[in-house]
């Protein structure tokens, strides 16, 4: 009997480098109905890669899954509406960007 316990090593994928998703695939990954995602697109939380094309052909960057979930958490936990969550996320993105710049310049 082999008495050593093997700890499994997990291999993941970098979602920022994954293939883009269709609206249906994004819905499945986020477990959300399409109307809710379309609502988020309207508020600028996410943006199709090819907005000029008709809706059924829209593609989305795979890392939007993380962004959609963040928008949901902010709405649920802070009692803000979608527009409020979108604004908060834009400002948070900007703060992150500025913090990085400050860190880069200070070192």
């Amino acid at each position: 009997m082999n008495m050593t316990t093997q700890i499994e090593i997990y291999t993941g994928v970098i979602i920022e480098e994954e293939q883009s998703l269709s609206l249906a695939e994004l819905c499945r990954f986020c477990a959300l109905p399409a109307e809710q995602l379309l609502n988020m697109i309207e508020h600028g939380v996410l943006e199709p890669l090819n907005p000029k094309e008709p809706l059924p052909h829209w593609r989305f960057a795979a890392h939007y899954v993380v962004r959609v979930q963040k928008a949901l958490r902010l709405q649920r936990d802070l009692g803000v509406n979608l527009a409020g969550a979108a604004l908060a996320m834009e400002l948070l993105d900007e703060i992150t960007q500025l913090r990085k710049q400050v860190e880069f310049l200070q070192r």
Partner: protein, 321 residues
């Protein structure tokens, strides 16, 4: 069990009005929300505040909690609810429960008073409860070394999560996850581990785990996207006469030619020596002329000779004075 002072947690007096409680909660929720706050223990605070609000915003629960009396101090051990402590109280829950936390997130103290079912009807799975009982996705931030992004590595991370045990009861769960760090990962990117999120309900699929990658600060290198840079100190005579310096990059040592007449802040590029990828980043060295601190008499003689030789050089000519 520890007694929890819900008023203290929310920074409120015992006679706070329901409106005050609501205002305090909204403020603290924004302050400690894990997506907003940069504080290390934001999540713990956020959960604590959510639990306190769950009790205080509901006049029924609040009255019952108040009746426990002020004999208990926050954190005091040995707490047991007295028998029949809640006799005559009816808990309706509905309508008062929207702190955004699932009941499974609450402490043992909360459970001993209000039971686990107190918040069940709104569960923690709202995001995905629409039509599936797939487990919720989880997320965690992980810190890796820059070198891991260059070469790829296997790293262990210690993660905390809430999981259901065999009886279907939630338990705080600590686990160590060994994860392959893909070569070429950038700061801020997310690694998805399929099926490593919260378990699904009723045998359904588990959610995914998203690991957001951040780099540990490095004593030599600065990173921006795939671009990596470092300061390279050189002597005044190396700057004036030119030289070759061996530079330690994360990809290995590289001999870099410093051209004669290089000034401070001059940037030299080592193409493709940044973080690898389809479009590998570049590595930059920024020259920094360093001066010896303690001048010997001999040094001074040489500087004086330089001063004489360079008297026609005016680095401030553009001042126009």
């Amino acid at each position: 069990m520890q007694y929890k002072d819900y008023y203290k947690i929310m920074g409120l007096q015992k006679d706070a009005s329901q409106d005050e409680i609501k205002r305090a909660y909204r403020k603290l929720a924004r302050k400690y929300h894990p997506d907003v706050s940069k504080e290390a223990d934001a999540e713990t605070h956020f959960k604590e505040v959510g639990e306190a609000y769950e009790v205080l915003k509901d006049p029924e629960k609040r009255a019952a909690y108040d009746r426990l009396g002020s004999n208990w101090k926050a954190g005091q051990e040995g707490f047991q609810p007295p028998p029949g402590w809640n006799a005559g109280f009816e808990f309706h829950g509905g309508g008062f429960t929207d702190s955004g936390l699932g009941a499974e997130q609450f402490s043992e103290f909360f459970e001993s008073l209000f039971g686990r079912g107190a918040g069940e009807f709104y569960g923690g799975n709202r995001a995905s409860s629409f039509r599936q009982m797939r487990g919720e996705d989880s997320r965690a931030m992980v810190f890796i070394n820059l070198e891991d992004a260059y070469h790829g590595a296997t790293r262990s991370f210690s993660l905390q999560s809430t999981k259901l045990n065999a009886q279907g009861e939630p338990e705080l769960h600590k686990r160590v996850l060994k994860v392959k760090i893909p070569q070429g990962v950038k700061e801020g990117q997310n690694i998805r581990l399929h099926g490593q999120g919260s378990p699904g309900m009723g045998g359904a699929q588990a959610g995914d785990l998203y690991l957001e990658v951040a780099f540990n600060p490095h004593k030599l290198y600065k990173v921006s996207g795939r671009e990596v840079s470092m300061d390279l100190p050189i002597t005044p005579w190396e700057a004036a006469l030119g030289t070759v310096v061996t530079v330690p990059t994360p990809k290995g040592k590289v001999d870099v030619k410093i051209p004669a007449g290089s000034s401070s802040n001059k940037r030299l590029r080592l193409k493709g020596y940044g973080i690898p990828g389809k479009l590998p980043g570049d590595f930059y060295v920024t020259l920094e002329i360093a001066l010896p601190v303690d001048l010997s008499e001999e040094d001074k003689v040489h500087y004086l000779a330089l001063q004489k030789a360079g008297r026609h050089f005016n680095p401030r000519a553009h001042f126009g004075t």
